[in-house]
């Protein structure tokens, strides 16, 4: 028998089978409810305002702030460099490329954390990995970064260092905290550790 006939006899039935069966559209890497719960409990999705402020001030290209509030609220106030994806439009196709990517670190924020957390949970359920939530939301951002309160004089050096960092960041980001305090030694403890976003590459190939 000619090899081509043999090939045809073998490969056409396979083609017929694959054409006849329904496509496997399940995504096996979505999280189960149990996994989701445990991940939510670890609270690793939260990024502190200090980390975000540091990244904004240093113009870190990896940071992508995403405002999940409505467009009106976004236009009234937003963090520098942020984009607006209202929670209601989260699943719109136009945002898939932003939410499901492996380069930038997306940080959701809303007034508090509820809406941002909802956005994070939904995207996490879809299997996206690079999304985080601004801890405390904008309310806490105002308190911590834009109007930081001086710690009590009995506080530890670390508290003062944190306060100095917040004050500096607040000034850089247009806050009102320009009150001079006594000079304190700024230790490295105030420098927030920037967590590298988990990378998930796609397999590439070619001829």
């Amino acid at each position: 028998m000619k090899p081509r006939i043999l090939l045809a006899l073998f490969i056409i039935p396979l083609g017929l089978i694959i054409a006849a069966v329904p496509q496997n559209k399940t995504k096996p890497y979505k999280l189960t409810a149990v996994e989701m719960l445990s991940e939510a409990n670890t609270r690793t999705q939260f990024v502190t305002p200090e980390t975000v402020a540091d990244m904004i001030v240093n113009k870190d290209p990896l940071l992508q702030l995403i405002d999940v509030r409505s467009q009106e609220e976004f236009e009234k106030f937003n963090l520098p460099g942020s984009i607006n994806i209202p929670l209601t439009d989260l699943l719109s196709d136009q945002y898939t490329d932003i939410l499901n990517q492996d380069v930038k670190m997306n940080v959701f924020y809303s007034n508090a954390t509820i809406n941002a957390n909802e956005a994070w949970m939904i995207t996490r359920q879809l299997g996206y990995t690079n999304n985080y939530v601004l801890e405390g939301g904008l309310n806490y951002w105002f308190d911590a970064i834009l109007n930081p309160k001086a710690p009590a004089s009995t506080s530890s050096d670390e508290e003062f260092a944190k306060y100095d960092f917040r004050k500096g960041a607040g000034q850089a980001l247009g806050g009102g905290a320009a009150v001079q305090t006594e000079k304190m030694q700024v230790s490295d403890a105030a420098k927030p550790v920037i967590k590298a976003a988990a990378r998930k590459k796609k397999a590439s190939g070619g001829c």
Binding site: L7, Y29, K202
Partner: protein
């Protein structure tokens, strides 16, 4: 389960090592099938030898069926398999340049390295030309980046554009490929060359 490296079943380094082994096997098969001869490749365009067409299409069909069945069995998540994004303009322009190079040089990038590896001078010249092309492209990038990045269609699949399932498209492609093989063998009889 799959892709193995992405789901961290094997490490990135193991992945590269496997690619290295597969690459050597690929090169060995290319060379032992005579693909390191530019005459063999040029034969596709003149009709006297269509082995290249048959081999690469058989490879593509095997791979396609393999991926579809693996996906069916839940062994691989096709959403995680990288699809090169389509930039329509550069795909057409690049296709013309590559096709012309294919006919003139008688090599595709892979086979040229195969030829160069066994010391074929035309293969070595082709590889040098390949790197010259890379250099010219890189140095002159500002001149053609508009053209290069034009008309990004994302990563469309032909089956999606035609509104059919992947499986049905696979079946059609298999039939088309088998028909092409028949035409190829007819051409080999029609335009024979004794020595090449």
């Amino acid at each position: 389960m799959g892709p193995l490296a992405i789901n961290e079943i094997i490490s990135e380094n193991t992945n590269l090592f496997l690619a290295f082994i597969i690459g050597i096997a690929f090169g060995f098969v290319l060379e032992s099938s005579g693909f390191s001869s530019s005459r063999k490749l040029a034969g596709v365009f003149y009709g006297y030898d269509t082995v290249v067409l048959k081999v690469f299409f058989t490879g593509a069909i095997t791979c396609m069926l393999g991926l579809l069945f693996f996906s069916l069995f839940g062994w691989i998540d096709l959403n995680l398999v990288y699809i090169n994004p389509t930039y329509l303009t550069s795909a057409i322009v690049g296709g013309i340049i590559m096709g012309a190079g294919f006919i003139i040089g008688g090599f595709c990038p892979g086979t040229s390295f195969c030829g160069a590896a066994i010391g074929k001078i035309d293969g070595i010249v082709f590889v040098v030309g390949l790197f010259l092309g890379v250099l010219i492209f890189g140095l002159g990038y500002n001149l053609w980046d508009g053209l290069y990045m034009a008309k990004n269609l994302g990563s469309p699949k032909i089956s999606e554009s035609l509104g059919m399932s992947d499986g049905l498209f696979a079946l059609i492609l298999i039939i088309v490929a088998l028909a092409m093989f028949t035409v190829g063998e007819w051409a080999e009889k029609k335009f024979p060359r004794e020595v090449y």
